[in-house]
């Protein structure tokens, strides 16, 4: 049985400055496993995508002056595995399979519809759960090389 060696929960407002904050938190959290530059870069990128999605998509319908929260749960296992769960209580996703397709985006501005592809390619597993009007949870696992 794998054992948890460290865990952490973060509740943070869905402000875009917190994208960088969460990349920093995740880097610090898994530092004790000495990830390679590439492994750390991949994880930072995947986390950045999920946090950004909660901010720009999840809470897109919030009225002016209201701010949503993002909940991040981090776990480190003795098997050199890191799990990152990122949730919001936002608008949710109607069709997850469709949302995951590369180039699919409902975003305006300059979204390119590659977030889920990045999360999938840069980690070892990605699970997305979502309910319209309830919110979205993204769970990612990454196993570091020995």
């Amino acid at each position: 049985m794998r054992k948890i060696i460290n865990e952490m929960k973060v509740r943070i407002p869905a402000r875009s400055t917190n994208e960088a904050v969460m990349r920093g938190v995740v880097s610090a959290f898994c530092a004790e496993l000495n990830p390679t530059v590439e492994e750390l870069g991949d994880l930072r990128c995947a986390v950045s995508e999920a946090v950004t999605n909660s901010i720009i998509h999840g809470y897109r319908d919030l009225p002016e002056g209201k701010i949503g929260y993002i909940y991040i749960s981090l776990r480190l296992y003795d098997t050199r595995e890191i799990s990152v769960e990122i949730s919001d209580n936002g608008c949710g996703i109607e069709d997850i399979e469709k949302a995951k397709r590369p180039m699919f985006t409902t975003g305006c501005g300059e979204r390119c519809g590659m977030g889920f592809l990045v999360m999938e390619s840069f980690t070892d597993s990605l699970t997305v759960k979502s309910k319209p009007n309830r919110g979205t949870t993204v769970l990612m696992r990454k196993i570091l090389k020995p």
Partner: protein, 105 residues
């Protein structure tokens, strides 16, 4: 520290980008690049990523958006300074396959 600066040489406009490129900073970068592009109307825009320490898909959006801008202005776009930290994402996005974009180290 500035997150970008411009260099101009004949018909070539170069924008050197620095630091992390995420959704939070991409918007400001886009506005300044587009303003300069529209006013200089170069034949070639070079986006130099050698100073970029991190980028996520917002950086790809930034490139694709500038590629569309360049097309409207009849300019070519070259991406340079692609480092280990940004190469993987550039490859994943298939950005090299777009016709008016060329990518080099």
């Amino acid at each position: 520290m500035e997150d970008l600066y411009f260099k101009e040489d004949g018909g070539t406009l170069t924008v050197c980008l620095f630091g992390d490129i995420d959704h939070h900073v991409a918007k400001g970068m886009r506005e300044r690049i587009d303003l300069t592009l529209a006013c200089k109307k170069p034949e070639l825009l070079i986006m130099n990523f050698s100073g970029v320490s991190f980028m996520d898909s917002s950086g790809i959006g930034l490139i694709l958006g500038r590629s569309r801008m360049c097309e409207q202005l009849g300019a070519r776009l070259r991406i340079t300074g692609v480092s280990d930290s940004t190469r993987k994402l550039m490859q994943l996005s298939g950005i090299e396959k777009i016709k008016n974009i060329s990518v080099s180290q």
